[in-house]
């Protein structure tokens, strides 16, 4: 873990509830450093999450926090952004949270394309509830619930995002803090809905997808990959072996939801209520 100080650091001795050696620690470092790189003011940043081990991340970042319900980070993030578009909104949560309980919001957040960055801690397991399969668990993985091994096809967030024409789709590996940090910085800088699925080893419950496994089964995207090429991005997203890391897809052409919906710079909390004359006019229509 790097020792760089960031303005997003919490006071020393903050009790971090994650296990020693967990990939979450590295990802947290990468996120804080990326935020720092971008020079974001912590008071203008809202970290939004659901519930899970990953979803605790905002508790360890010096910024505003909305740690909501399991699976419901994205709608909350939408409400926040639409109410105050000056805020930087980052959603950080787990694979179960975002792809299982929150799967529907994942689809529809991408469809809207409001300015949010999703960082998904993809440990291919339910950590906080002690090791059941997540939507990204590999077929055959045994758990106390999946006694005969996982049956369903793993959810492929990148392929689905590209199918939805998500404008920024990337994958990183928490074990590589530097690259993760730079991909996350790019994603936050991107104006629109950006998705960063981050492979994150859970050292307690996932004995298959370890640091070693990820190192052996991942690679960089081909040097010549053009992220504006949707078909190429899709082909790489469905590639199984090895699993590429980096920015798969970028589509600068999608309009921003906030712009289309006419969201102004004035946050709603500053918006004056209708004047008495406006109210009178409203009533007048019913005379």
């Amino acid at each position: 873990m790097s020792d760089k100080q960031t303005r997003f650091d919490m006071p020393p001795h903050t009790d971090v509830a994650w296990c020693p050696g967990c990939g979450n620690h590295m990802l947290l470092t990468a996120v804080k450093e990326a935020l720092d790189d971008l020079g974001i003011d912590p008071r203008q940043l809202v970290m939004v999450s659901g519930i899970g081990q990953a979803a605790k991340a905002p508790q360890y970042i010096n910024a505003n926090m909305f740690n909501g319900l399991h699976g419901r980070a994205l709608p909350a993030a939408l409400g926040i952004r639409l109410s105050n578009r000056n805020l930087v909104v980052v959603v950080e949560s787990g694979d179960g949270d975002m792809y299982s309980e929150g799967g529907n919001h994942f689809l529809h957040a991408i469809r809207r394309n409001f300015d949010v960055t999703m960082i998904i801690h993809n440990n291919m397991i339910y950590g906080l509830t002690k090791g059941q399969a997540s939507p990204t668990s590999p077929i055959g993985m045994r758990t106390p619930v999946q006694v005969k091994g996982v049956i369903p096809e793993p959810f492929n967030p990148l392929a689905v995002a590209i199918a939805l024409d998500a404008p920024f789709v990337a994958r990183a590996f928490a074990g590589d803090i530097a690259q993760t940090r730079s991909v996350i910085a790019e994603a936050i800088r991107f104006k629109g809905c950006s998705i960063v699925d981050v492979f994150q080893p859970c050292v307690i419950f996932n004995k298959l997808n370890t640091y070693k496994w990820f190192r052996e089964h991942t690679c960089s995207l081909p040097e010549d990959h053009n992220p504006e090429d949707r078909m190429a991005a899709f082909a790489l997203a469905i590639q199984h072996e090895p699993l590429p890391l980096g920015i798969f897809y970028r589509n600068g052409k999608r309009a921003l939801y906030e712009d289309q919906a006419g969201i102004t710079e004035t946050p709603l909390y500053r918006q004056p209520p209708p004047g008495d004359d406006e109210f009178e006019k409203l009533i007048d229509a019913y005379r």
């Binding site: 008071r43 105050n84 006419g262």
Partner: protein, 566 residues
């Protein structure tokens, strides 16, 4: 006649609502009190739907079963309305279009023929409106302005043809032998009581806009969608952010995100959609976020009768969401109350940082009524957001349990909201003592909420009354009218538009009177709650669960039985 009831029946898609849309303003502008209510099937075409227009001497907001004049325009009219037609009903129908009912006083009515004479069957509704004016001896010119407004988009020719159609109808009506037997009620002195005309959804929308609401995220669901549509229509004029959510869970979580960021947010739904919002309600309780939740009730369980009416969601909202925290439930009884309580809902939600419920139903939302403009009030907005200081604590312990409300991006502090049990700073905690104090904090506001709770409205003279007829929500009109007709000084009415919490003074108001509770659900949900809260015995329950509103007649009958007038 002090009370005329006209019913217009037609298949979905036949556009019989246009008839009422033409007639209501004309009648109102003549100085009459008008009230209209609608019942319709869950389909877009076909079936048999009706709108009832009442023209009344006193202001009324209730449904009557009796039909004085029926325009039966679909083949299913007879089957659908058989129960409501009696020997005194004048049935206007065209044997070609519609099987003429066996009962009632049938008058062959050449709607289609006159429409064709005006140029096309599409003018049928205008012909009918003209007929009504003729029958009631109201000058047909009263319609012209409306026809202009409504059809000008389609070109001058269409406007003129509609005007001609109305005239044809009018002439027929004027000459109809039945014309003499229909009399409009007397107009109140001055004839200008009825300045405004709107439906329940508009009244709700006006109240919500007046409250400074600037955010709605919702998923369509009858009969609650109207508020979403209303705010969408007004979004530019009033700066309301409108988002159609992918589901109800998204809707309430977006509402809470917005509220956290400082918006004045509302969500609208019906019982089934609200089921899905309950975890969000619990989150509002935990995060101490203001949110107004409108529930347009309809008959359940499950999909039930999607386009019909019921008052079945009181218990649901009272206990919605796991865990315990403060909340408030309002149930407006009239359109005026809709406007006022929508404002109060926001004020209370934002003063106490809690979820507040507005319970309406299909009957009330679709009801249209004339009302005095002077009766509508706008309440001043309280602003409760503070600029945060560096050491801001979103869940600061205070005497009354209310912490100053900061929003992210405003001030030097950080705003942390955590759905786990949390410290004053908003961080996750498992400290048992903090937990205990936070539970108390979230419940403490029930004290002032009780003290500030609205008292029920009394009908009649309560001091003399030995029996009280208790109602809530949309039944205010029907109880008031039935009591008026009953005319028994020993019986008074009590209407609750705040259902929870109850004002501690309610118990003594009830005194030792015999209590009869009327509500449109199968078990008497509010009756049960009133009994616990006040310790009083409920002597009788007048209940219903067919999907229809209570009619004045059945309430009167039930009251006669209860108070022994039979």
């Amino acid at each position: 006649m002090s009370d005329l009831s006209m019913v217009f029946e037609g298949a979905a898609g036949q556009g019989v609502q246009t008839i009422t849309r033409m007639l209501l303003p004309v009648l109102k502008n003549c100085g009459h009190h008008v009230f209209a209510c609608t019942e319709f099937m869950s389909r877009i075409r076909g079936g048999s739907n009706t709108t009832e227009i009442r023209v009344t001497e006193k202001p009324r907001q209730a449904y009557v079963r009796r039909i004085d004049m029926l325009f039966a325009l679909s083949p299913k009219a007879h089957e659908h309305l058989d129960r409501r037609i009696d020997a005194d009903t004048l049935v206007f129908a065209e044997s070609e279009q519609c099987a003429v009912p066996a009962k009632g006083n049938c008058i062959e009515t050449p709607v289609k023929a006159l429409a064709l004479e005006a140029g096309s069957p599409v003018f049928s509704n205008t012909v009918v409106a003209g007929m009504v004016l003729g029958l009631l001896a109201i000058p047909p010119e009263e319609l012209d302005a409306f026809l202009h407004d409504r059809f000008q988009e389609k070109g001058e020719e269409i406007v003129l043809k509609n005007i001609a159609a109305a005239r044809l109808g009018f002439e027929w009506g004027r000459k109809c032998p039945a014309a003499g037997s229909i009399k409009l009620p007397r107009i109140e002195f001055g004839g200008s009581a009825a300045e405004l005309l709107m439906d329940g959804t508009a009244a709700l929308g006006i109240g919500v806009v007046a409250a400074g609401c600037n955010f709605i995220s919702s998923y369509p669901m009858s009969p609650s969608t109207g508020l979403l549509t209303f705010l969408a229509e007004k979004s530019d004029a009033f700066g309301v952010v409108v988002d159609q959510a992918e589901d109800e869970i998204a809707a309430i979580n977006a509402g809470l995100g917005a509220s956290y960021a400082g918006a004045r947010a509302v969500v609208t739904t019906s019982g089934g959609g609200f089921d899905l919002m309950q975890e969000g309600v619990s989150l509002a309780g935990m995060l101490e976020l203001p949110l107004v939740i409108h529930i347009g009730q309809r008959p359940g369980p499950a999909t039930g009768l999607p386009t019909r009416t019921e008052q079945g969601d009181f218990n649901l909202v009272l206990h919605a969401g796991h865990g315990e925290f403060a909340r408030v439930v309002f149930a407006p009884g009239t359109l005026e109350e809709l406007i006022h309580l929508a404002q109060r809902a926001f004020a209370v939600a934002h003063r106490f940082h809690i979820p507040v419920f507005l319970l309406t139903d299909q009957f009330l939302l679709d009801a249209e009524t004339s009302m005095e403009a002077g009766a509508i009030h706008r309440f001043p907005l309280e602003e409760a957001i503070v600029e945060t200081g560096k050491e801001y604590l979103p869940y600061l312990f205070t005497e009354d349990g209310l912490s100053p409300r900061g929003v992210p991006g405003y001030g030097a502090g950080l705003v942390r909201a955590d759905s786990d049990e949390h410290s004053e700073a908003g961080f996750i905690t498992e400290d048992f003592d903090v937990r205990r104090r936070m539970v108390e904090k979230r419940l403490a506001r029930l004290g002032p909420l009780r003290e500030q709770a609205l008292m029920p409205t009394v009908t009649g003279l309560i001091d003399n009354a030995r029996t009280l007829v208790v109602g809530w929500g949309s039944n205010r009109g029907v109880i008031e009218e039935a009591l008026d007709l009953l005319g028994d000084p020993r019986v008074a009415g009590l209407h609750f538009s705040q259902l929870f919490p109850l004002n501690p003074a309610v118990a003594s108001l009830l005194g030792e009177r015999k209590l009869i509770v009327l509500e449109n659900n199968p078990t008497g949900q509010f009756a049960g709650y009133l009994a616990i809260e006040t310790g009083k015995n409920i002597a009788g329950r007048i209940l219903k669960a067919t999907g229809e509103p209570f009619s004045v007649e059945e309430v009167l009958e039930a009251l006669r039985k209860e108070v022994g007038h039979e």
